[in-house]
């Protein structure tokens, strides 16, 4: 191919990468120095040795362990549930024949464009009546199955399973659920893994709904961050240390699976 990139392309990309990593690095810098670091005229270029002191203060100021545990529970449950139910529905839309299928699929896609965030008030009233506000149920239930997930799995499975395989299984007397479990689930694994990752990240980073549904005593990580910042005086070493701590789990996931994540975003773009 004739489109070989020159120095300009590499230079611009390097600038972008520095810009992408810069703010995160800055928060590591501030989070690992003593709190007067922000007032220095010339900021340090290397992380300091106070990260663990700051981290300890984070855990003393708010119940960060509980926040981490809550976030882990909520994200894991939602991601797993989304993968299970969306694979099931996506398989039905991709491979089973039933009346109204195409219309229903269009409906699923259309709901993607609905700003459901604007339904928070009745959602809050509902949860309060069920007695779920303040519990993790309130945060988890709305995200147990998503339109994006259904569409994503459908797009993947439509090409991933040959129809003959399903017909053969049916002739052999497999029940529908066994076909799903023994044929569709193994075939769906790569797409399901990406969906799991995505949902985990989305739920982990969510702020608006958990802030409304959860009290200060039962926070997720994002809500704990807000609590740390909301005092009269903001101690940025503390706050940005917590910002780093809250990002570390996702960063670890990203390092391990970033390749799949990139592939997933790009596949979703072409097929969606």
């Amino acid at each position: 191919m004739s489109r070989r990139p020159g120095f300009l392309v590499y230079g611009l990309l390097t600038a972008f990468v520095l810009g992408s990593a810069g703010p995160l690095y800055w928060s590591l810098l501030v989070g690992s120095h003593e709190k007067d670091v922000v007032t220095k005229r010339v900021p340090p270029l290397l992380p300091g040795g106070h990260f663990f002191d700051n981290a300890q203060r984070v855990f003393e100021t708010v119940d960060f362990w509980k926040a981490l545990a809550n976030s882990l529970v909520v994200s894991t449950v939602c991601a797993t549930s989304v993968v299970f139910f969306c694979t099931l529905a996506g398989y039905a839309f991709a491979k089973l024949r039933f009346r109204g299928r195409d219309g229903l699929l269009v409906f699923v896609v259309a709901t993607l464009a609905v700003p459901t965030q604007l339904g928070v008030i009745p959602l809050f009233i509902q949860m309060a009546e069920l007695g779920w506000t303040g519990t993790l149920w309130a945060v988890m239930v709305p995200t147990l199955v998503t339109a994006f997930g259904v569409f994503w799995m459908r797009q993947y499975l439509v090409d991933a399973i040959p129809d003959e395989l399903i017909d053969a299984a049916r002739v052999d007397g497999c029940s529908q659920f066994r076909i799903y479990w023994n044929v569709a689930v193994p075939a769906a694994r790569p797409a399901a893994a990406i969906l799991w990752l995505f949902t985990f990240m989305t739920v982990w980073t969510d702020f608006f709904w958990p802030m409304i549904a959860l009290p200060a005593t039962n926070p997720t990580v994002q809500i704990a961050l807000q609590q740390l910042q909301s005092g009269y005086y903001v101690d940025y070493s503390l706050v940005l240390c917590a910002a780093v701590l809250s990002t570390v789990p996702l960063l670890a996931l990203f390092v391990l699976t970033g390749r799949q994540l990139v592939a997933g975003i790009m596949q979703g773009a072409v097929k969606g």
């Binding site: 489109r3 392309v9 972008f16 990468v17 922000v38 940025y236």
Partner: protein, 338 residues
């Protein structure tokens, strides 16, 4: 969307397990379905509905119903503590329209939205163009630009709140070095909008660039070859081939960033430690205004009116956007076919 026939009657598929009967080892049995066969027929017919029902049930309960019920709440006096009060008709809407903070929030939202989505789409397009070359270490570059995506909006807001600090912020220090006076990011309206928009841009540009990159890689390479033979330069090729070819994806990116951009909340809420959008609500977005009405002033009725208004507004802007981006991108497309 599918190539499969649409209206296959369910009975057709249901006949396939029944079609097993002639092949079964007992062909002399009377033509009567056993319990198992009947079960299997029901299974084939109703299992698909069972499988898709979780999504529809949940959407009904936590998506559709709340949106509709918001309209019901909005015509009542409805307190966060006391619950439902009297029917008040359109009074809540009138109160919203008479509140100058509503108009300010609307202005802020539109301003932050424009400052975030326009540069974001343009930079993402450029970035995707840079990545759509025969780079060394492709995966490294792609992963690097996606890095901001793993940082939660709340953390982004805290980090940028510090970077854009009025007194000790890194950005003001940098401006000082260049000889520009410190900017009051948390006081000045436009400056605060720029700061908040930059958080959104930082987190989403790489993500959108990857989506556009995927579309760009689907463009047939021989188009570029014939264009270079015709003497078109790199830049000309980008604007005359690449951009028109990725038009559908571009519209997708624009629409999704519209729907998200008009609901910005976290970045504005955490930009300072008070969380209400500034002393004079300089950067209070409509969603933040909604939250303040509902959960600070405990007026769920009025907050619901705001939710409905924002809903209508988002729909209108999304449609306008669709129309505009089709026209603009369509114009470029026509130039190419000539």
């Amino acid at each position: 969307m599918t190539s499969r026939p649409v209206l296959t009657p369910a009975g057709d598929t249901a006949s396939s397990p029944a079609g097993v009967t002639p092949l079964s080892p007992l062909p002399d049995e009377p033509l009567r379905l056993t319990f198992r066969q009947r079960l299997s027929r029901w299974d084939v017919r109703f299992a698909p509905y069972l499988y898709i029902s979780p999504f529809f049930l949940l959407f009904l309960v936590v998506g559709m119903f709340p949106l509709v019920f918001t309209g019901w709440v909005s015509v009542h006096e409805w307190s966060l503590i006391g619950g439902k009060g009297e029917f008040v008709g359109l009074d809540n809407y009138r109160a919203v329209f008479e509140d100058r903070y509503f108009w300010r929030a609307l202005r802020n939202t539109v301003s932050i939205f424009l400052l975030s989505s326009i540069p974001q789409v343009l930079i993402a397009l450029l970035l995707a163009g840079l990545l759509d070359t025969t780079l060394r270490g492709r995966t490294f570059w792609r992963m690097s630009i996606l890095l901001p995506f793993v940082v939660a909006p709340a953390a982004v807001a805290l980090i940028f709140g510090n970077l854009f600090g009025d007194r000790y912020g890194l950005i003001n220090s940098a401006l000082d070095v260049v000889g520009i006076d410190a900017i009051a990011w948390h006081v000045n309206t436009l400056a605060s909008h720029v700061a908040i928009a930059s958080m959104v841009n930082w987190r989403w540009t790489g993500y959108n660039a990857l989506i556009l990159l995927a579309a760009m890689q689907a463009v047939p390479r021989d188009l570029y070859e014939s264009a270079s033979i015709d003497g078109a330069g790199r830049v000309r090729q980008f604007f005359s081939i690449t951009v028109p070819m990725v038009k559908p994806t571009l519209i997708f990116v624009i629409i999704t960033s519209t729907i998200g951009g008009l609901q910005i909340f976290t970045e504005a809420r955490l930009f300072d430690n008070v969380g209400l959008g500034g002393s004079d609500r300089q950067w209070q977005t409509v969603t933040l205004y909604l939250w303040e009405l509902g959960w600070r002033l405990r007026n769920l009725g009025m907050a619901s009116a705001v939710a409905w208004l924002l809903f209508v507004f988002i729909c209108l802007v999304a449609l306008l956007n669709l129309y505009l981006s089709r026209r603009i991108a369509g114009g470029v497309g026509r130039r190419v076919t000539r």
